[in-house]
């Protein structure tokens, strides 16, 4: 088990700065998810932790020992690759036991460890197959087995589920969550899928453009995003953003209506209001109304895409099946306790009490 620390870590390719001043503490046994849009540097950061990319500047430490220049094989870290990177000429058992084969561990011990890992991952019947004879999910399991068998100090996952179909992705996600519970090992997981991030993580690190935007628990990020980017990146469907004018007692919307926001004392500085689709109520006595443009019936939820005069498009999600047709006028009420306000620089404005939102 391991504690991982990144201190002012920088990555440059020539003159291009890919990661800037990254500071992160990963506690022993913690499940950290690095999330961000493509090109944000999350995979590069993971590869730097693995030792596959050199660290340009800063300190990288495992259990207080500086590891910047230690070779990958001496860092005692296991990694699961996006492409699985299984050795195509070796059967499943040899793929999983390869690290022990390299260390020249006794064959009997290797066989028993391989068997144990195969049992854990439900691969017992497949140990003699070559990777090409396996399905995507099975390959993924073998890649995980290869990591488990080493009993490493930390596990790294580089978008491990992105090559699987939706149903399998859910299944493997649960599998990884179970694995983490069982092993209690430190895990760092890279994904661009926020559902994976929200479901798996103890803490999420949101990266964008080479900077850490916010570090926090999934609920933290959902309820108290630090800036507009995090607010829009976390949560599905995406948060609505509406231009507003800040007032001491609240904000005025573009149509002139005043929304009182007692829990947001810094409201005079705000220029934009963020409200999640699930935090807008459909009601006849609302402060707004709009014309339904598209209505999606998902069974459990109804997504309503509306056009509100002077405000622009809004999206509303209601639980259950709501009988609204496109073209109908719908009354709306914004839940004031779930409103987020953003300053001109995109940062979120301070809330009065951290536990205000329900």
């Amino acid at each position: 088990m391991a504690r991982i620390e990144l201190r002012n870590v920088v990555k440059r390719y020539g003159a291009v700065e890919v990661l800037r001043d990254i500071n992160l503490d990963v506690e022993d046994g913690e499940f950290i998810v690095l999330v961000g849009p493509s090109g944000c540097g999350k995979s590069t950061l993971l590869r730097m932790i693995a030792g596959l990319e050199p660290i340009t500047a800063g300190d990288f430490m495992i259990d207080d020992i500086r590891m910047n220049d230690v070779r990958p094989r001496d860092r005692d870290i296991a990694m699961v690759f996006q492409s699985y990177a299984l050795y195509p000429h070796m059967d499943v058992a040899r793929n999983m036991g390869f690290s022990m084969e390299i260390r020249k561990d006794p064959a009997t011990e290797r066989a028993s460890r391989v068997k144990q890992a195969a049992d854990t991952l439900g691969l017992t019947a497949l140990t003699e197959r070559l990777p090409k004879a396996l399905s995507g999910g099975q390959r993924q399991r073998v890649a995980m087995g290869r990591a488990i068998i080493r009993d490493p100090r930390a596990f790294l996952f580089d978008e491990p589920l992105s090559n699987l179909d939706a149903a399998l992705r859910v299944e493997m996600r649960l599998e990884i969550a179970r694995l983490h519970q069982k092993l209690g090992a430190t895990m760092i997981y890279v994904t661009h899928d926020q559902v994976e991030a929200l479901t798996l993580a103890d803490r999420i690190v949101v990266l964008n453009g080479g900077d850490i935007q916010q570090v926090g628990s999934p609920l933290d990020l959902y309820e108290r995003p630090a800036n507009k980017f995090v607010a829009q990146f976390i949560g599905s469907p995406t948060m609505n953003l509406v231009p507003i004018k800040g007032r001491p007692e609240g904000v005025t919307l573009a149509d002139g209506a005043l929304l009182k926001l007692p829990h947001l004392p810094d409201s005079p500085d705000a220029i934009e209001l963020g409200i999640r689709p699930e935090h807008i109520e459909v009601t006849d006595q609302g402060d707004l109304s709009g014309i339904a443009d598209v209505v999606e019936h998902l069974g459990s939820d109804t997504n309503i895409y509306l056009n509100v005069e002077k405000l622009g498009p809004l999206m509303v999600r209601k639980h259950g099946n709501i009988p609204i047709r496109p073209g109908e006028r719908v009354g709306l009420r914004i839940q004031p306790e779930n409103v987020h306000l953003f300053a001109p620089d995109g940062s979120a404005l301070r809330r009065a009490s951290p536990n205000m939102a329900a």
Binding site: G51, P72, S83, F98, E101, I102
Partner: protein, 311 residues
Amino acid sequence: MTTRSQAIDVSGETRARRSLYWQYMVEPFLYLSPAIVLIGTVMLIPLIVGISYSFQAIELLNPFNTGWVGLENYQQLWSDRKFWIALENTFWWTFWSISFQFLLGLGLAMLLNTQFYGKKLFQALVFLPWAVPTFLSALTWAWLFNPVIGPLPHWMVALGILSEPYNIMGDPEIAMWGPIVANIWFGVPFFAITLLAALQSIPSELYEAAEIDGASAWQTFTKITLPFLAPMIAITVMLRTIWIANFADLIYVMTGGGPANSTQIVSSYIFTTAFRKLDFGYASAIAVALLFILLIYAVILLWLRKKLVKI
């Protein structure tokens, strides 16, 4: 009524069978016929004619004594001491040429697969020997080994390989090494090119995974690189073996098979027999023998490849 309908059924069935026969057995070959005719005229007919020569007496110096002689050429071949010497020389010529070409080519390919300054230029230089006409490289190497104008004998003396600077191609014991060295120089680029292409097709994640699994450079090479190269190695070694065993140009120019047949390989022996002694029948018999030896070799290598290669 019943008999009538039965009769119709039978005839319908035969017609159907006949049309099936036409459709599956004959028609495809009609479509293929241009290719079959082409292959037949340019490959099979010369082969058959060549093999048929080996059962005939065709000596240009003896034009009235031609005709079918059965296995006479082969009987003569069996008791021909020069043929057996040439066969042994062919083995060593091919073995040493291939071994060094392969090992040096592999090393070069591995070097070229890394990143360094001036790689493009270096790559172009490496492939240069391949572009030099055989005749030219043979002459150049012959001169290099000549103690009067070439530096090599003097260098070998300095290194203690030779006792005094003489032309190694004049010494029957080691004359074969002259053409072999020229052949190594000439053939390394082929292995470098093909193995470099194979190396570049190995996914880089496999090396990363091996690195994380803790493999040393040597373990990575033996457990990842070599298994991946195996199919390419098998096929290139097979091709080059057949090629080199048949490759008499260098020997013909550098030593002419001498001294005392010490550098005579089967294919140069065929050449000498056909175009110096003008005995085409006997030359064809030697050629057929060489063909069968190489066929057996190819079959063994392909079988090995199938057994060893799992990807």
